[in-house]
């Protein structure tokens, strides 16, 4: 802890890093299934608002808020996923970007919408105030502790580890590699995709609840497109060939601006660079055992057998 502190990593930073790890896993499950969605910032917002309202207005404990946030995000993911997941790559990306924006706009106008609904049904003019539009919710109790986050990340990692070794997990990988062939193996592709979409939404929702109880202020604009891109950057930096990748990616991107103080001003620049450079030059990300070992083998072969190139099926 002392060493970490000396390089700028305080407990608050560690908590922030762990939230990033959860977010990284939320996009990992969909990417692992071959779905490129940018909806997770929206689900994070839904989770955050639900969880915070539960703890703040109803005095529920944090874990109940987390479950509430996960359920809310998951429930909303069902009617979104059913139609949207019929779309593929670019179209799916666009639709989910649109979804994120809709969430943001709804949150901005939520009080107003509810007020007019009340007026429509009862005829009474009221000024409903719950989420306060762009000003957001303030004074949230700081309920999230480091051990909550550590526990949640470990639990999630265990669940995903087991999932990979289950029928559902194998079906996810099969869909990523060849959707039609997967269907011909007896896999209900639509069902699996929707289950995974909901799972990703719930994980993002949990991250939202935890982070809301850390930052203590939540505003709709914190969950816009740039948050969606940050989440994507965690997965791209860490790589998605193992579940360790997005965890590492999220934590590294959370820590770097703190470690390299001078970088803080350039955080945005840095995220952009990470996306660009990693996709172009290191598409497997940092944690990519297969990719690294083949690089290693290649390097060794080049050294040991010069001029003698054996063709290898790839």
């Amino acid at each position: 802890m002392n060493f970490l502190g000396s390089i700028g990593i305080s407990e608050a930073v560690i908590q922030f890093m762990l939230v990033n790890a959860i977010l990284g896993l939320s996009i990992y499950v969909t990417l692992y299934t071959g779905m490129f969605t940018l909806a997770n910032a929206g689900f994070m917002a839904i989770g955050a608002y639900t969880g915070v309202l539960l703890t703040q207005q109803l005095d529920w404990p944090l874990w109940a808020g987390v479950i509430g946030g996960m359920v809310a995000a998951g429930v909303i993911a069902v009617p979104i996923g059913l139609p949207v997941l019929r779309l593929r790559d670019i179209y799916l990306a666009i639709a989910t970007i649109g979804f994120g924006e809709v969430v943001r706009i709804v949150l901005l106008n939520f009080d107003q919408i509810v007020s007019s609904l009340i007026e429509l049904t009862t005829g009474e003019r009221t000024r409903f105030a719950l989420v306060n539009g762009a000003r957001g919710i303030r004074g949230i109790p700081k309920l999230t502790e480091t051990w909550h986050l550590v526990f949640f990340v470990l639990l999630l990692a265990y669940v995903l580890y087991r999932l990979h070794r289950s029928r559902l997990g194998r079906a996810m990988a099969a869909i990523r590699q060849d959707e039609l062939a997967a269907a011909n193996m007896g896999i209900d592709v639509v069902y699996v995709k929707n289950v995974v979409f909901v799972l990703g939404a719930m994980i993002a929702g949990a991250a939202g609840v935890f982070s809301g109880h850390l930052t203590r202020i939540i505003t709709p604009d914190a969950y816009g497109f740039s948050q969606a891109v940050d989440i994507l950057a965690f997965a791209v930096l860490g790589g998605t060939s193992t579940l360790v990748g997005p965890i590492v990616g999220g934590m590294v991107l959370g820590a770097l601006p703190e470690v390299l103080r001078f970088m803080q001003q350039y955080r945005g620049l840095f995220n952009g660079l990470v996306l660009l450079l990693f996709i172009v030059y290191l598409p497997g990300g940092l944690i990519n055992p297969a990719g690294w070992s083949s690089l290693w083998r290649q390097a060794r072969r080049e050294r040991s057998s010069q001029g003698e190139t054996l063709p290898e099926a790839s």
Binding site: S166, R170, A181, N184, I187
Partner: protein, 255 residues
């Protein structure tokens, strides 16, 4: 077992299948031949649910499957291979065979997450079956290799093993010997016959006439989306319509 009634499919003006009638009886090996672009693959796609006919009926054991999605078709007992190999290349050979058994598992996600006995028993059983298939197709030594790293002929055999892993009653093979040498081709023919002797029903598309003669009990000939002939191998090879359809394409595909 499988019966096609007036199946038609057109792609924006191109009539890929028109009024195809066809019967694949239980326990038989039926060949489907025809020149390039005749509509053979389209027919298999329609049976396997990747594509759906514009009109007509596809009856499998009396049930109409013409609107069924692919996983329903597979679970009903129809499996297929592809003309262009479509293995899960990033997975190991063994994993490919586990995926093939997807529809046969019963353990729930929760049993898997909690690592409960039923899940463990089932996994062991799936692996056991996969091993049997590996042996049958002499792929044991590749079990833990990435499917995409396999030699071409072995990939074709793995595809067939994977189709069998789904536990089908009817097997659709789309040019299973494309790119194989004569020795591999005749070995594959042996496999097909062995499967038939075990009670499997098979519909096989092939350009290689020697394989067709080796395995087929009867043959349908497709040209421009229409069935132009049906009969046993001898009848077909003497049918003037068939000879005409193949004119100029005689040696096609039979490398």
């Amino acid at each position: 077992m499988l019966e096609l009634k007036n199946v038609s499919r057109n792609f924006g003006g191109l009539q890929a299948l028109s009024n195809v009638n066809m019967v694949v009886p239980k326990g038989r090996v039926v060949g489907l031949i025809g020149p390039n672009g005749a509509g053979k693959t389209t027919l298999i796609n329609n049976i396997s649910g990747l594509d759906h006919p514009n009109s007509g009926a596809i009856l499998f054991e009396g049930v109409d499957l013409c609107k069924a999605p692919p996983h329903v078709v597979t679970r009903a007992g129809i499996a297929r291979t592809y003309q262009n190999i479509r293995l899960f290349g990033e997975m190991t050979v063994l994993e490919n065979l586990l995926i093939g058994q997807h529809g046969r598992g019963r353990a729930t996600v929760f049993e898997a997450l909690a690592y409960l006995p039923r899940y463990r028993r089932e996994e062991a059983a799936l692996r056991e079956r996969a091993r049997t298939l590996l042996e049958r197709f002499q792929l044991e030594r590749f079990a833990h290799m990435r499917a995409s790293a396999l030699p071409y002929g072995d990939q074709r055999r793995l595809e067939m093993a994977r189709a069998l892993a789904t536990g089908p009653k009817l097997l659709l093979l789309d040019e299973p010997t494309a790119g194989m040498n004569p020795a591999e081709t005749s070995a594959l023919g042996e496999q097909v016959l062995r499967l038939r002797d075990e009670g499997m029903t098979i519909l096989v598309i092939e350009h290689d006439m020697s394989l067709i003669r080796q395995v087929c009990d009867e043959i349908y000939v497709l040209n421009f989306g229409q069935i132009i002939a049906h009969g046993d191998p001898d009848e077909i090879s003497h049918n003037p319509l068939v000879i005409e359809a193949y004119l100029g394409e005689e040696d096609d595909g039979a490398a």
